[in-house]
Amino acid sequence: MTGARGLLPGWVAALACALAVVVGLAGASAAPTAADAPAAGASAHAATLGPSAGPSAGPSAGPSAGPSAGPSAGPAAGQPAEPLAAIDRRHGLAPLFGDTLVPLEWMPPGTSASPVPSDEIFPPQQLTIRFNHKKHVGELQQTCKVCHAAAYRSAKSTDTLLPSPAKTCDNCHDVDHRNLANVVAGTEPNGQCGYCHLGDEAGKGGRVAKVVVPAPNLKMNHEAHLRRNIGCAQCHGQIEELELATREQLPRMAGCFSCHARSAAATGDAKGACVTCHVTEASGRLETTFSTGQLVPPVWLHGAAHTPDWLDRHKGIAGANSELCASCHATEFCTDCHDGKVRPRDVHPDDWISQHAQAARQDNPRCVSCHQLTTFCGDCHRRVGVARDAPSANRLAGRRFHPAADVWTVAPRSPQHHSWEAERNLNACVSCHTERDCATCHATQGARGGQGVNPHAPGFEANCVDAMRRNPRPCLVCHATTDASLGACR
């Protein structure tokens, strides 16, 4: 009872949820209509007060909204409410009406690889207008250049490519944007602030919500691309099929690769190098830290996504293509771990010294990625008396690291015999033992002081002639120069 008192009964909660869904659905469908009235009111109000900060206006004008519509004709307060309200203003709010999914073939090339553009390259935008590209490009037969003429002259990504409302929108819409501090709405519905600018109070107090389209963190020369006859759609997709163009219509790197695939020495500008497009530091490496996040490889790029298991699998990519890594990382970044004197915590967890012996036993291939066995490992093993050739003061009588000699060393080869471990994981042996330890038994009898236990794998003789010719030293560790068995390898 006590516990239930603080909670709603289940059926009340279910009913509340159901009602919330119904209200939500009804609200969603009614929203545009509801928005009309205050917007219209706002535009009337704006006309009275004079909008002071209308940075842009998207023309969705009908054929009647021609350039002749006098932009200076200010509406009387409240006058255009009815015509504006009669217009379906649900268009131009999303790429497709009702925010339905845009077919992949209309999206920028590479969208299938990267459904959304990178936040780090294309920071989030604030689109506070509605605009219908399909209407302007399709019905009204306006080319991209009509509004985005600046792109045809643009050499930098920081250039503003949005249209100047006074030079473009005002040609058809009944509004005067020449003084953005004092935009004057006309009398026709298409000239009201709320016609294009979003928000219940668009135009109120002479203000509209600002459109924010941050410059991309990318090098981009539109003029050069257009000069090469690369059309807008080749990077931005089929904008003419869409209403509002959003971040989703910005290019994807996978799409860029369809042209950017030339070597640094090739003629032309479509180089494949990362620095062709990405912003770089003075070092020539990519800028990777942005206010919107850390730039990392996309999930599809050479399998180099920096997933939580990246540490385990980066070897295959870095070894194959170190230039890819060097695009962002200095050598120090790698050596801090691979040649580091400070233990990388993500690789070697806490209490590593206690557990490293077992880790080396089971995961040995990875030890030699960073450690020289005979020095890095061996030095410490000698100092603590683990190694067989440790200095005498560090070797403790009667202490064995390995199982007892009768199973570890002596024939016959029991399941615990050292030979099995040496065959499976020789690197672990080398981290403690020098060749003198092995030669004690495996060198030939006589001058070399061993016991003649042959360690060679079957078929060894096939390679020994060439090996001995190129470096006889290892042969002579175990075999005296007069050893008859060397004859086969001379």
């Binding site: 070597s263 050479h302 050596t335 291939p365 030293r473 290892p474």
Partner: protein
């Protein structure tokens, strides 16, 4: 620039010649210290001090490690004054390190013939090494050439490697580039050098002091000498969807090296070889390719020419499943190979083979998960389970009683039918001992912090003939900015359990935690203090304190 018209207007009657106007414009630009403005220099330094104790597995020897590692790096970019990364670019890079351990005592580091009971050859108080130091020119002649001279590092399928010398790169317009290099491998024991990048297997360093005169002392410890090296590579260049690179490298040993490990009978000395001989010769190829909508593939191999053995081969396939999920399969073949001066190449019989399936997903923009599972196969020539009994039988211990005696008292393995049995290919069929591997990783990020989890399992199976033990555990860590850019706090807790059937007395379960505050008192300066406390039944409580100061000057 704007000054010129005004100047011209003021002295209009003087009517300056056009060349003088041009000179007035150009001169200030020509005379200004353009290099000083254009060159970008960066200095970074880090000092890391650590104090902790290392306890011998036998519990008696305790090393007090009091380490201070100092690195100092300098780089100057755009020496040519042009900051276009696609244009010719000249730069200088230097990084040095002092790795001091004040816990090393005099008897460990300095050889004293009258008392060598603590001496460890090659150990030094504070080795100094030049990690890299080179001058680089890139994109010369419209991207055709690149040159690098000095101590430099290469990273490729053959592994990490550094050398002192020169590297030339020719990038052709035809989708491939060629590299060639020559110089000397960095070798421990030589000035400003570390043994980190040498081929495995040779204990090498400076036999200085009294050690130089006593070859019979530590004969396995070889005197370091210059190691001439050269190599070449061919690499694809341009297309991003595929990348392949072939590498070849050959390194020579020079100088003398003892061969015999024991003085010759009758008071003889140690034998020695000298002169140029192969240290290692390897070639390898690596390929990665992807289809952005489908997934990626990679593969490669390394062949050790001296050992005439495939040292490493690997391959992986990764497929995209949905928007932010990938699944993959990875395999690796690894056979240890060593410096040709080492005898260990002749002990390396079998590879370990690893096969893993993996999945990685990002269910939300802030949460990433990954998991891997698979096996590592350890191979032996012959069956550890029954080899001893068969060996005894082959030696003639045919009855159960004799076999028991053979197993208990051992036999002579170098002669007779037992030696033939050991060498016979019929006795040496490949037997596999599998380990199960699994790991899990997760990262959750929020505005000013992140948390990560990592867990892994490695475990063997069966009896003493195949069970290679177990290590299982995980770590939870978190990092939170408290005052962004100024104060942060990191922390970690972990627990691991391990078991080795060969050394059951060393089995333990460990718990550890770390607290690590970070302070950035001024811009580009960071101080991090790390307190680590680990505990297990073998060593009781153990502590490590690490303090790191990092300074960068852009």
């Amino acid at each position: 620039m704007n000054v010129v018209p005004r100047q011209a207007a003021r002295v209009a009657t003087w009517a300056p010649k056009r060349w003088l106007v041009a000179l007035a414009v150009v001169a200030p630009n020509a005379l200004r210290p353009s290099v000083a403005h254009a060159v970008e220099a960066a200095v970074e330094g880090a000092v890391s001090a650590q104090g902790y104790d290392v306890v011998s597995p036998f519990g008696d020897v305790i090393l007090g490690r009091r380490r201070m590692t100092t690195t100092l790096g300098f780089a100057a970019y755009d020496l040519e004054g042009n900051q276009d990364p696609l244009a010719a670019d000249y730069s200088v890079h230097v990084r040095m390190r002092i790795d001091a351990d004040f816990g090393v005592d005099d008897a460990e580091a300095n050889y004293d013939a009258s008392n060598r009971s603590r001496f460890v050859p090659g150990l030094a108080y504070s080795p100094i090494d030049l990690m890299h130091g080179y001058v680089e020119a890139r994109n010369i002649a419209r991207g055709l050439f690149g040159v690098r001279v000095g101590r430099q590092m290469t990273t490729n399928v053959l592994g990490w490697w550094t050398f002192d010398g020169g590297l030339v790169r020719l990038t052709t317009p035809y989708f491939f580039a060629v590299e060639a290099f020559g110089g000397f491998e960095q070798r421990g024991g030589l000035p400003l050098s570390t043994p980190r990048y040498e081929a495995q297997g040779v204990w090498r360093g400076a036999r200085n002091g009294g050690l130089a005169d006593e070859p019979q002392v530590f004969p396995s410890f070889q005197e370091a000498s210059l190691a001439p090296a050269f190599g070449a590579a061919i690499e694809s260049s341009g297309p991003n969807w595929v990348h392949g690179r072939f590498d070849y490298r050959r390194v020579y040993n020079s100088g003398g090296a003892f061969t015999s490990q024991f003085p010759a009978p009758g008071g003889g000395g140690l034998e020695e070889v000298s002169g140029l001989r192969i240290s290692h010769e390897r070639l390898g190829y690596a390929l990665t390719a992807f289809l952005s909508d489908v997934g990626s593939a990679r593969g490669g191999f390394v062949y050790d020419v001296y050992a005439a053995a495939l040292s490493r081969a690997y391959g992986g396939l990764e497929a995209r499943v949905g928007e932010s999920t990938t699944v993959g399969l990875d395999g690796e073949f690894f056979l240890p190979t060593f410096d040709a001066d080492s005898i260990f190449n002749w002990f390396a019989h079998n590879p370990s083979i690893t096969a893993l399936a993996r999945v990685a997903t990002r269910p939300t923009p802030r949460l990433e998960l990954s998991g891997q599972a698979g096996t590592r196969l350890w191979l032996t020539d012959g069956s550890p389970a029954g080899f001893a009994a068969a060996e005894c039988t082959a030696a003639g211990f045919a009855t159960p009683e004799l076999e028991r005696a053979c197993l208990e008292y051992g036999l002579e393995p170098t002669t007779g039918p037992e030696a033939e049995f050991v060498r016979a290919s019929a006795s040496r069929g490949t037997v596999i001992a599998p380990d199960l591997l699994a790991s899990f990783g997760a990262t959750h990020r929020w505005g000013t912090g992140r948390a990560t989890a990592r867990a892994n399992l490695e475990t063997g199976f069966g009896g003493t003939d195949s069970d290679r033990g177990r290590r299982v555990g995980g770590t939870l860590s978190a990092h939170q900015d408290i005052v962004p850019g100024t104060l942060a706090l990191g922390g970690r807790v972990s627990t691991y359990e391990w078991h080795n059937p060969l050394r059951p007395d060393r089995d333990a379960t460990s718990f550890g935690y770390v607290v690590a505050p970070e302070v950035a008192p001024v811009e580009r300066t960071k101080v991090r203090i790390e307190w680590e406390h680990d505990m297990n039944r073998l060593v009781g409580h153990r502590f490590r304190v690490v303090g790191t100061l990092t300074v960068e000057v852009p």
